[in-house]
Symmetry: C2
Subunit: 611 residues, 2 copies
């Protein structure tokens, strides 16, 4: 049975030492006024959260996977044993309200704090964590664009956790391509709409954990244009609320089936049939895609945190096993009395472990940087600071989603490898981490789509402005530290890579504008995102190493925490960062290497792509 | 439901055009005399095999995964529906005898041919294919070192398929480290031995498909030395044969449980309890490890073929889906009448598909080169040729096992990605390929162990002699083709990488001999193997591209097969081969980056490794 200890020390290091979160939050009146910027309070909250996830959720992770969800003939769904009771405790403790707006019953804590909570939920039990995760997305969209009437009625229920939420986007024929969805809405003339259609892959789409489920549904209003510009967002509750906010009449949305999946079996992935279901317009007509992106962006960071959380817990268990499992001998002997020594002594095992540690800690730093930037975007009194933060959030979100889920999956696979044959056996739980981590690379926009979002929309669409802004931050850091004894070499490597990122961006942008260059962005995007991810992680590792070395030099490293940071940074730059070398080459290869003859290479009769 | 078409055209291309197999086999009296070197016969056999695997085994793949194996209270195991009947057909058609020695009822076909059969089995149904696969390993070991008495009694049963075999190595506390096994054997004084102990992870360890199961068991004979030099190999049949070769008395080996695994669920992974079971010594006392390596080497190539087969079938299904799934638009429109175009038009989808194709086809070429080398090693009349082939087989076997299973897993993951959310749903079968492919990286010696075998034993132990031999073959090829219009650039890249492989080998070897250098081989091995794999694949792609271009130039490319090869080679060198750039950097990083402070980095009290 896997174990998990929340990385509370690392949370504190990143929040307070790396990001200076307390000072930054104190500049934001919202947190200052709510008394939620206090570092000690934040630490207490996270300690409490750690106790909850370790004690209540972790023990349900494997049983949840084994039992899965059960759909009954009437369309109702039973979640695995213990899920409902744990959710009740979660709500009773007020966790759904953590970073929610006090106007609707929220506690008004920084997003930075809920970010750490979500990482822990994902480490302990990702399938369970998706239920409140989806609710949070629904909360964000309603909060941002819902009418006061909708907000007053529904937000308190999401904030208390009594009701949960979903995102209903995908249809059988429409996944990435939401412009072709067929779900329809017609105006009932009484302020409500009749929503009809079939939605698939709806996470937390039906379950028994809450009294009501609020579906946020993309549909085309009768008479709206084709494509993404004719899509509106509707709120379709499972039970229509009574005027006093109780679940009333059953709405015409029914779970037709749940999927049998590779993993996240504790979460019900539902097919939902809407048959003239009563819905309420959220935001403006035909602005549904924009509104949904509010949820999507939150969900993308949340998905990235799944990769982070699963990588962390997989790493922790591989580390524990590597200390425990005796196999082969080492000089000097660790256990002279035993027939073998712990496998952690073998360099290749250490390589796998350090990979997990280096990616997890950098990912945590990036996620928290992003989360604090979201706080800044929403609450900083200075408009320029808000805009700057918004740009950074826009730029980093696809990286957080794709790079963290790719790394999380790879860490899970490598951590499973540390277990040898035992890693393949269900009982040990490592293979579940691999299965659970796999979905993060696929949903909420595949990682290929994230890469297109990054390169096509976030970087090239504004002529590289957002990229330039980040690049100048990096450049400043590099110039300041190039001669540094501890991290000068890292700064130099980072400076080169950042410059290369700029020149690669130019090359792709220019190619894309030439005749026949339409495919260049698509051809480069995935490798480009990975390159970019390393630049961000390199920057964060260099900063963390510098901070840590200063502490060591000041004689403040009693438990070796800072030495661990310094040595992991060294590993990162020597063993992981060099992936940029091959990525630079494959990015440059361009679409020319993909525009092959379809008939010859793929046996496809059209050959419209090839030369 | 996944589909599969055996790559018969590619088999022919590699065997006859690339390797000149017919001519080479004709030089070996064994095949010439048995009339089994004939190209047309080989093609016919493979077509027949393709029909069998496509028609009989593929349909059982998903049901086998879903049903799994069931162990009953008496220790007997029932395999999934249809497995037994398919096995009967397989035996009736004579497939177990394909490359077996005619002395014992075999057909004496080249190993090259059975290699292709095994790839197909693995594509269609890897869990099923493991039953005959293990038998083949047992056959090889018995055939090589068994006494005439054992061979005469048991080999015909393995060759006919009436009885199957297993390899019993692992114990709960001993996986990689076989020197510490506890299973004991005592001499009964009547030519038999009493074997007692517990073996785990025994693939095909108990089942209902055959009349008897022959366990080849590593055990320590009473009085033998500790460590690997005190281990002997025993044959322990489930039923002790009667003098006329029928299954007789039930032996004291019982399946105590079967594992619940991540994948290969159709294969029973058994825990076997031996309780004074009657066994027969195979080969010499205390030479069990050497004898077992006969099986292990066969099993390692067989495991590599699992990676190859699973990558191939995953690629085929991703390709079919990419042509079928309509999502987003492309100019010019493929389907002007439809709302969207097939996703194969998107460069990033093509990148994923080409990755599958490029690795699969190079892997097939390497596997067949290796298989033909095994034929040469065993049957060439010229001793020098045999020795040369044996060296190549020794060198390439760990690469075939590790590089092909790593690539196969990655292809399965990427092919699943092409399916988007549908790839995560069991119904589509893609996630099964991922789960099934994962074990190949773990068992038969983890890929980390393969890397140590390659670098430590195969390369460095003889001072680089085997490597030098291969390097000179490559060098000759490079020099001959550096100026070639079609592949000159590939030859140049290959030449550089081959030289770099040599210099990296030197650097590691020198570091390893220095004081404190004991960990250097272990620290570099995994990345070294991957680098080496690319050098081999680069060589094979360059050769295939040259051959194909010549055919095109000669006007002999009616169906575009050769153009496909030329363009896939271009993709390989532009998009996959550049991984060598980052691998060169990480190989050089050395153990210094892994010898971190154990207490600080890993929270491990010993800190024997770190500085």
């Amino acid at each position: 049975m896997p174990t998990y200890k929340a990385p509370l020390r690392d949370f504190r290091f990143i929040m307070h030492e790396l990001l200076g979160a307390e000072q930054q939050l104190a500049q934001m009146p919202f947190y200052k006024d709510n008394d939620t910027a206090d570092g000690d309070l934040i630490s207490q909250v996270l300690e409490e959260a750690a106790r909850f996830v370790e004690g209540e959720l972790l023990p349900l992770n494997r049983t949840g996977d084994q039992e899965g969800c059960v759909r009954h003939d009437d369309g109702e769904v039973t979640t695995p044993t213990g899920f409902k009771a744990a959710y009740r405790k979660y709500c009773d403790a007020g966790w759904p309200a953590l970073d929610a707006d006090p106007t609707y019953g929220g506690q008004g804590m920084p997003h930075l704090v809920s970010n750490a909570l979500v990482e822990m939920l994902n480490s302990a039990n990702v399938a369970w964590g998706m239920y409140p995760g989806l609710s949070h997305g629904a909360y964000s969209a309603l909060h941002a664009v819902g009418s006061d009437e909708l907000k007053n009625l529904y937000l308190p229920k999401l904030v208390s956790g009594e009701w949960t939420g979903t995102m209903c986007l995908t249809e059988p024929h429409a996944g990435t391509d939401l412009g072709i969805i067929r779900t329809k809405a017609t105006d009932n003339g009484d302020g409500t709409y009749a929503v009809s259609g079939t939605k698939i892959f709806i996470s937390a789409g039906e379950h028994d954990m809450a009294d009501n489920i609020l579906h946020l549904v993309l549909a085309r209003l009768e008479g709206s244009p084709q494509g993404t510009k004719g899509i509106s967002l509707f709120l379709v509750p499972k039970y229509l609320p009574t005027p006093d906010g109780q679940p009333g009449e059953r709405n015409a949305v029914v779970c037709g089936s749940i999927e049998h999946k590779m993993g996240i079996n504790g979460n019900a992935t539902a097919l939902l049939n809407f048959d003239q279901a009563t819905g309420y317009l959220v935001g403006e007509v035909n602005k549904g895609m924009n509104h949904m992106f509010i949820m999507m962006n939150a969900a993308r960071l949340g998905t990235g945190l799944q990769g982070l959380g699963l990588g962390e817990v997989a790493y922790q268990n591989a580390l524990a096993y590597a200390k425990d499992r005796l196999q082969m001998r080492h000089e000097p002997r660790v256990n002279p009395a035993e027939s073998a020594d712990p496998i952690i002594v073998h360099p290749d095992v250490r390589r796998m472990l350090l990979t997990g540690k280096a990616y997890s800690e950098a990912g945590r730093a990036m996620a928290m940087w992003l989360a604090l930037s979201i706080d800044t975007e929403h609450h900083h009194p200075d408009e320029a600071k808000r805009a700057e933060a918004a740009d950074l959030v826009a730029l980093l979100t696809p990286i957080a989603k794709a790079f963290m889920t790719d790394n999380g999956f790879n860490i899970a696979v490598q951590s499973q490898q540390v277990f040898g044959g035992h890693g393949y056996i269900q009982e040990w739980g490592m293979e579940q981490f691999v299965r659970d981590a796999r979905i993060g690379q696929i949903y909420e926009g595949t990682n290929g789509i994230q890469a297109l979002d990054l390169l096509g929309r976030k970087v090239l669409m504004d002529g590289g402005k957002k990229l330039q802004k980040l690049a100048s931050v990096l450049q400043e850091f590099v110039e300041e530290h190039e001669g540094d004894e501890a991290i000068g070499d890292y700064a130099t490597q980072l400076g080169k890579a950042a410059q290369q990122l700029g020149s690669l961006t130019m090359v792709i942008g220019q190619k894309a504008m030439q005749e026949g260059g339409a495919g260049e962005v698509n051809a480069a995007a995935v490798d480009y995102l990975r390159f970019f991810g390393h630049v961000v992680y390199g920057y964060l590792w260099a900063r963390m190493a510098k901070l840590a070395q200063d502490k060591i030099d000041a004689g403040q490293d009693k438990d070796g925490f800072y030495l661990g940071k310094v040595q992991t940074a060294k590993f990162y730059f020597a063993r992981l960062f060099p992936e940029t070398k091959s990525l630079a080459a494959t990015i440059k290869a361009g679409n020319e290497t993909l525009a092959v003859d379809d008939r010859a290479v793929f046996g496809w009769e059209h050959n419209l792509v090839g030369a």
